[in-house]
């Protein structure tokens, strides 16, 4: 009797307890929590696309590329006769670097949502997401091979460093972290140090990525080794401008990586006549882009593409509101870029009113792939190009020129010019070459959001020869080239400070 009791008790206990863990594991069907996500390769891919989607959200929420990368040095004027003319006056407000007024509110251009540029939360969301993905990949995701794991880690590392790259160029010093689920408040960190950490981070993951993708739908859209190299080069060049003591190291690294990129032969410059293919996206020239297509039902904010400002009928409709462009590049500036020598870009990327100095001006570079019909008010269906092979060739050339390797620099420069079917550079080396490379970048990358940052990192922004809105050295050092940071950043962060130049009234 006693024994049987003991057996019953023992049996009951041993049956109940071990099965308990299984019994308690319930996966909810109404939501995805962390315990039923990251369970397959598809989950990881969906997560990588989500980071691109989120990052693109920052670009798509306002007229981002023009406002941050093009107008602030004053080359662009608005056309008062255009539709809703007063609202387009912001380009000149930007051109005077009067961000306080731009963001002041109660302005006709409020619908452009420029204030969103001052909020960095979106970038940090991308960074958190990437940090989480990397930590999940390190602990292992079922169904992901070792090679895939390295590739996904590389993609995540790329997008988080791209976020830091954008933030440094906008705000200067920023808080930096790479740990998953980071929740503590951090002070802003010196931007040179941030970039050095970013570069080290990128180098760690670079070789896990393929040079390019065989699936044409992924070319340029998913980060490749070329994307990472482009980012490393850009960060180095930025640091070269702000960390003068180590400038040569940065130039050397840029030159080395640029040559690695070229030697890979994974990318090519498409003939200028095939420009429409490049700007549609997914081309062999694309290093990284945010691909958009009406075929996928992608919706862009109407004012987000830069082409919105420089196109009119028949590339934009309806005709009665788009008889002239909203804004134009000064004729003086255009002549400086395209004077004298032959250059196919002047004819293919612009209409005949390239020097008109009014709203007849059109930048056809972004007019390709226009599918709007009838009275539909839509922009051409182009991609949002972030890094393009031509830009990185010129960046490499710039680094080489800075290092005094003029011959190699000229060779690379002429590679780009040859594609544009422009006359080759035959001048000398030294400062002339550097200036020419700068101008070549201005020509080649116009409207792609690089111009203003080139002015800042080369300090040409302080020189009236290169900028219509010259910053004094004092203003430059106080951060006049940055954007204000939204005061939201101060909330719950005792270590945070804003950009003093803007806090003190922006002058």
């Amino acid at each position: 009797m006693k024994k049987s009791v003991i057996y019953i008790l023992a049996a009951a206990a041993s049956l109940c307890l071990p099965s308990c863990k299984k019994f308690l594991n319930v996966q909810p069907i109404d939501k995805l929590t962390g315990n039923n996500f990251y369970q397959s390769k598809d989950d990881v891919v969906a997560n990588i696309y989500d980071m691109s989607r989120a990052f693109f959200g920052k670009i798509n929420e306002t007229h981002f590329i023009g406002a941050t990368g093009e107008y602030r040095s004053g080359e662009v004027l608005y056309e008062p006769q255009s539709d809703n003319g007063p609202a387009r006056a912001y380009v000149e407000v930007l051109g005077r670097n009067d961000l306080i007024r731009l963001l002041g509110g109660n302005q006709p251009w409020d619908f452009y949502n420029f204030y969103r540029i001052t909020d960095w939360t979106g970038y940090y969301q991308v960074i958190q997401s990437a940090n989480i993905l990397i930590s999940k990949l390190e602990t292992g995701v079922p169904g992901v091979t070792e090679a895939e794991k390295k590739q996904f880690e590389g993609e995540a590392a790329f997008i988080r460093n791209l976020a830091y790259f954008y933030m440094v160029r906008l705000y200067g010093d920023v808080p930096y972290y790479t740990d998953a689920f980071h929740s503590t408040a951090l002070p802003r960190e010196n931007m040179v140090s941030v970039f050095n950490k970013c570069i080290a981070d990128l180098k760690k993951y670079k070789d896990g990525l393929p040079w390019t993708y065989s699936d044409p739908a992924l070319k340029g859209v998913r980060a490749s080794r070329g994307s990472v190299i482009a980012l490393i080069m850009n960060m180095n060049m930025w640091n070269a401008g702000f960390d003068k003591a180590n400038a040569n190291k940065y130039y050397q690294e840029t030159a080395d990586y640029g040559q690695e990129l070229i030697k890979s032969n994974a990318y090519r410059l498409l003939p200028i006549t095939e420009w429409a293919t490049v700007i549609k996206g997914r081309s062999d020239e694309s290093l990284f882009e945010f691909f958009r297509s009406i075929n996928y039902g992608d919706q862009n904010l109407n004012v987000a593409p830069i082409g919105d400002m420089f196109l009119h009928y028949p590339y934009k409709r309806p005709e009665y509101t788009h008889r002239i462009s909203f804004a134009y590049f000064r004729a003086e500036y255009m002549q400086k870029l395209y004077s004298g020598t032959s250059d196919k870009r002047a004819t293919i990327w612009f209409n005949s009113d390239i020097y008109a100095d009014n709203g007849k001006f059109m930048m056809l570079k972004f007019a390709q792939n226009s599918f709007a019909t009838g009275e539909e008010d839509a922009n051409p269906d182009n991609t949002f190009m972030i890094f393009r092979y031509a830009g990185e060739i010129l960046l490499c050339a710039e680094a080489l020129a800075e290092l005094g390797q003029d011959d190699q620099a000229i060779a690379l420069l002429n590679k780009v010019r040859a594609r544009a079917e422009a006359s080759l550079y035959t001048g000398g080396g030294g400062q002339d070459l550097k200036d020419f490379i700068f101008l070549e970048r201005s020509r080649e990358l116009m409207g792609e959001g690089h111009h203003y940052f080139d002015l800042v990192r080369t300090r040409r922004i302080m020189n009236g020869e290169w900028s219509y809105n010259v910053l004094t050295l004092d203003k430059f050092n106080r951060g006049a080239w940055t954007w204000p940071i939204s005061s939201n950043a101060l909330a719950n962060n005792p270590f945070m400070s804003l950009n003093m130049y803007w806090v003190n009234g922006g002058n």
Binding site: A12, F23, L24
Partner: protein
């Protein structure tokens, strides 16, 4: 597996006792005898006779017994309700007479602890039992209403009169500071006790998960239990008493036992109630032309610019008095409110003895609310049966079926917003008619709302006693609830578009419990009781809605298609639930001579919602009881009938993490590059390091019964500390996330509870009982996350009645502007000596008649920096008292409850005064003669000038965020007065009845309070008197109890 070690230890302890059974065999003698009762010398049949722990026999119907036992052994005679007696058998004895004394100490001897019946004297926990007698004679839709003021430390506030809804229930003060919602509709997360009905746990907060805006029918599961079917209610308060119920017992446990069959001949009993719900006092308004004159007068005497006078002529209902449309005197409130007549009937049939018994109870309850188009109906059929084929087996089965049907009108849950708004309409408007009726009125009166909750619960319970003392029992129950709501709003009530709303939900709980208990007495003095069990729950639920608008007309209610134009969304709602819980519990109780009792218990709960890393909540507890009256030095104190001292400690450690807070939530975010994207939700950063919420409670109790039960006295004091409460911290935006669930908040409650009962007269024909109970509970906030530096303000931009949490103060305080009276004249307004400007707000200087707000920061400007911490929305003292007199066939019972020291924000008064803010609006005018308001310069008054309409929006003299509305909410309420008469048995037997009793009772009879508003109880759990709340009606009832004569 570490977690299970304790469980194994308990098992091992349990097992080891089998091996220590001692037996001694010696010479046997046969002895016979009789057992009698001491008081009347009556014989006692069925008395159990034990030798050691071995049951020998029971006395026969003549009280006689015969046993054969060893010489010098000790026989134990036990009988329920009597003190056990020990008799030593010596050689040569043949015939003995054993006298048992009725046990009068602790009138409720047996209590249920961890699903086992236990002798109260050998359990150290704090538990109070209420019998059916205490809650009879008052018809109510929810049994909780009747618990108010019955148990010290159980704070029940019947804060809504909506039929079928629950009030708020708290055991021993505040256990949460989670406040949801905003404005007057803020509500405190309910922390209701765990209810256990006939051994089956039940979630009482189920219908309250969305606060006032209940989704679905919102019928509380407690509303489905007919009061007539309740045998007893036991309230367990301290951590030792509740620890075996696990994490769900953290807020106290209430055990409801329904009636069992207990009569040799079948009994048929009927209870009927016919009751009237009377409308409470409504807002008085000025009617008809008087309203017009009052408004014109207000405009003429307060206008500041010429346009305001011109506007008078352009305002039709003021200027055009001859227009029939504007020339009425409609009592709007009477359209919505009215007295109702209601009834309830209950028939029960029962029979059997302790071998086999059965019961069936059929009930019908119907109550129409005092707001038209609202009400609650309940239909029940409950059955149970118990069978003991022999001493080793016991089976119990029950079936509980009920249908609750509720009409909510056009209100949502507890609020009747539409009624509140339309009740304020101008009396000059014509009364509603078929052709002429404002939206709101049609909506309140014509909305066809049908709600029903159908609940079926079955329970089967078996018990097998292997050997004496060791028993295995198993219980399985299934509870299924189906909720349905359908609302049809006619076109006239919804901006000319008819609308259909349908809600369907289902919930189920499958519950299984297996227990092993072992009771053993060693020698004569040492008794142990071991109780181990495990519980498994499987719970699920899902509900969904459809909503269609723009139905073609008022006839067609479907089928209607779904498209983006007509469909208003729907689908599965967020109360989807799929959870499993597995628990293991064990307790060990030891007593020495029933004098010293020690109880240790431990319970583990694992739930699926806490993730796999740390799914277990742990509940250790220990208790000690000293029945001091058994000590020798009290031997001569005849007046001391019984008494005990209890000391307990218990902890309830509950993991707070959810799958979401540990792992994060991932959302589907649309496509990118034609691929789906899934990313983390940035609202909450996952925090796997969440600590479990730990409630630690100490209880010291003192019981005393004097003069054979003439005086009962129970005192408890406790200290309850809740650590690691969940609290959302906001993060720096450079983390990308908004909030982090952290648990750095602690609160503490401590208090005293006293229950005293006097029975001064206990004669046969005349007895009188007076009882009183009261509890003082204080709560303090002990800790907040470090970055808040000891204070966190929960800003509420809806009505600006902020809540402040400050360490070291009571947990929930208001954060308001301090009102210091009213400026008698313009000259009284202070002037800033620096600028020469008067004290001002929003650029406008204060004047005579404006409220005098304290300028906290001394800058002569009233703004957001002038708020101060004030008040406490939680009551300090609660309790009740009752007296019961029975004289011959008459009975009188008066029962009252009280609540003292709490702050109420009288938003109803602020709303009422604010009606005057805009005389051009089509709103009623309210007479303000009863209020001390400022009327002319020089008046020293309490309330500011409400008539100064042109400056109203800037000065906001009646703003809700001021201490003017803060009032003391103490009250004494006479809940019930019951007068009953029992007809003479001999008379009623001639008519075939066994028993006939009639009674007249009232509920919510009268409330004494200094509070200015209508009812200080009818406020939210945060102490806000909202004008859209449902008033608590006064009830008059005529009832009848009949028992049929079934014996012949």
């Amino acid at each position: 597996m570490k977690k299970h070690i304790l469980f194994y230890i308990v098992l091992a302890v349990c097992i080891s006792f089998f091996c220590t059974e001692a037996n001694a065999q010696a010479q046997n003698i046969t002895i016979s005898g009789t057992v009698v009762e001491k008081a009347n010398n009556k014989i006692l049949p069925g008395v159990n006779i034990y030798l050691g722990n071995k049951g020998l026999t029971t006395t026969d119907y003549k009280g006689k017994f015969t046993v054969t036992v060893p010489v010098n052994s000790t026989l134990l005679f036990t009988f329920i309700g009597f003190i056990s007696e020990k008799v030593k058998i010596e050689a040569g004895q043949k015939n003995i007479t054993v006298t048992l004394t009725e046990d009068k100490k602790g009138l409720n001897e047996v209590i249920i602890v961890a699903y086992q019946n236990r002798n109260k004297e050998s359990t150290p926990g704090a538990a109070v039992t209420i019998t059916a007698k205490d809650i009879q004679d008052v018809p109510t839709s929810n049994v909780e209403n009747l618990l108010q003021g019955k148990v010290a430390g159980l704070n029940v506030q019947n804060n809504t009169g909506a039929p079928g809804f629950r009030g708020s229930v708290q055991v021993r003060g505040l256990s949460t500071l989670s406040v949801s919602g905003s404005g007057s509709e803020s509500f405190l997360q309910p922390t209701s006790p765990l209810y256990i009905i006939d051994g089956v746990p039940l979630d009482a907060d189920k219908a309250a998960e969305f606060g006032f805006q209940t989704q679905g029918p919102g019928v509380s599961p407690l509303s489905l239990i007919p009061v007539e079917d309740i045998q007893s209610i036991q309230v367990m308060k301290d951590a030792q008493a509740t620890s075996m119920y696990g994490s769900r017992g953290a807020y106290g446990v209430i055990i409801i036992t329904t009636k069992r069959g207990n009569s040799k001949v079948p009994r048929v009993r009927y209870t009927g109630n016919f009751f009237v719900n009377a409308t409470p006092q409504l807002r008085s308004t000025i009617g008809g032309n008087a309203e017009r004159q009052a408004k014109i007068q207000q405009i003429l005497s307060n206008a500041t610019v010429i346009d305001e006078l011109r506007r008078l002529g352009q305002t039709g209902f003021l200027a055009d008095s001859l227009n029939a449309y504007w020339n009425n005197s409609t009592n709007w409130q009477s359209i919505f409110y009215g007295t109702t007549h209601n009834q309830s009937h209950n028939v029960s049939l029962d029979g059997g003895n302790d071998r086999f018994n059965y019961k069936a109870n059929m009930g019908y309850y119907s109550e129409k609310g005092v707001i038209k188009n609202t009400g609650f109906d309940r239909y029940n059929l409950n059955m149970n049966m118990e069978f003991r084929p022999n001493d080793k087996f016991r089976f119990f089965g029950s079936l509980f079926g009920s249908l609750g049907s509720q009409a909510k009108g056009n209100g949502v849950g507890l609020l009747q917003q539409g009624v509140a708004q339309n009740g304020q309409a101008s009396t000059l408007l014509p009364p509603p008619s078929f052709y002429l009726s404002p939206d709101g009125v049609t909506s309140a009166l014509q909305t066809q709302n049908s709600n029903s909750t159908r609940n079926i619960r079955t329970n089967v319970d078996g018990r097998y006693e292997f050997i004496k003392g060791l028993a295995l029992s198993s219980s399985i129950s299934y509870d299924y609830t189906s909720d349905a709501e359908s609302t049809f709003t006619p076109a006239a009530a919804n901006a000319q578009f008819a609308q259909v709303y349908d809600y369907a939900g289902r919930n189920y709980t499958l519950y299984n419990r297996n227990a092993i208990t072992y009771a053993q007495t060693f020698g004569a003095d040492h008794t142990i009781f071991v109780n181990t069990f495990n519980e498994i729950y499987k719970q699920g639920g899902q509900s969904g809605i459809i909503r269609q608008t723009r139905i073609p007309n008022d006839q067609l209610q479907g089928p209607v298609g779904s498209d983006s134009y007509n469909s208003r969304g729907g689908g599965v709602l967020s109360n989807y639930r799929n959870a499993t819980i597995a628990s293991f519990a064990g307790s060990f109780n030891y007593d020495f001579k029933k004098k010293y009792v020690l109880e240790l218990s431990y319970r583990l709960d694992g739930t699926s919602s806490n993730g796999l890393e740390n799914p277990y909540s742990k509940n250790p507890a220990a208790g000690f009881r000293w029945n001091y009256y058994k000590e020798n030095w009290f031997k001569n104190w005849d007046w001391l009938t019984s008494g005990g001292l209890r000391l307990t400690w218990g902890q309830n450690i509950v993991p707070t993490g959810t799958l979401q807070s540990i792992y994060g939530l991932y959302n589907l975010n649309g496509n990118f590059n034609n691929n789906p994207t899934i990313g983390i939700n940035y609202e909450f950063i996952p925090n796997p390091a969440l600590k479990p919420t730990t409630t630690t409670q100490y209880n010291l109790g003192f019981d005393m019964t004097l003069f054979q039960g003439k005086v009962d006295f129970t005192f408890d004091t406790y200290y309850k500390k809740v650590d690691n409460l969940l609290f959302d911290r906001f993060l720096s935006n450079s983390t990308g996330f908004q909030k982090k669930s952290s648990n750095d908040v602690s609160i503490a409650d401590f208090g005293y509870e006293l229950m005293v009962t006097f029975r001064p007269l206990t004669a046969k024909d005349f007895n009188w009982t007076v009882s009183f109970n009261g509890a003082i509970n204080r709560d303090y906030l002990l800790r907040l996350p470090a970055e808040y530096n000891g204070q966190y303000i929960k800003f509420d931009y809806n009505n600006r009645q902020h809540i402040v949490f400050r360490v070291g103060k009571n947990t929930l305080s208001n954060y308001l502007l301090t009102n210091q009276g009213v400026y008698a004249t313009d000259a009284n307004v202070p002037v800033d000596p620096v600028t020469g400007k008067k004290y001002q707000t929003g650029g406008l200087a204060f004047k005579g008649g404006d409220p005098r707000f304290k300028d906290v920061n001394g800058d002569y400007i009233l703004d957001d920096r002038d708020y101060e911490i004030t008040g406490n929305s939680q009551p300090l003292i609660t309790g009740g008292m009752s007296t019961n007199i029975n004289y011959k066939n008459f009975g009188l019972n008066i029962y009252a409850t009280y609540t003292a020291k709490r702050t109420i924000l009288n938003n109803a008064l602020s709303d009422r005064l604010s009606i005057m803010r805009d005389p051009y609006a089509l709103l009623a005018a309210v007479p303000l003669n009863d209020l001390d308001i400022w009327r002319k310069p020089g008046d020293q008054s309490k309330y500011p000038n409400p008539y100064s309409f042109s400056r109203f929006n800037q000065i906001q003299p009646l703003r809700s965020d001021q201490s003017l509305w803060q009032e003391e909410g103490s009250y004494l309420k006479i809940n019930t007065v019951t007068l009953s008469y029992m007809f003479d048995r001999k008379v009623v037997r001639q008519f075939g009845f066994n028993n006939v009793r009639v009674y007249f009772s009232t509920n919510n009879l009268i409330t004494f309070s200094g509070y200015q508003g209508p009812n200080p109880e009818n406020v939210t759990s945060l102490g806000r008197d909202i004008s859209s709340g449902y008033p608590v009606p006064r009830t008059y009832n005529l009832g009848l109890n009949i028992e049929l004569n079934t014996s012949k």
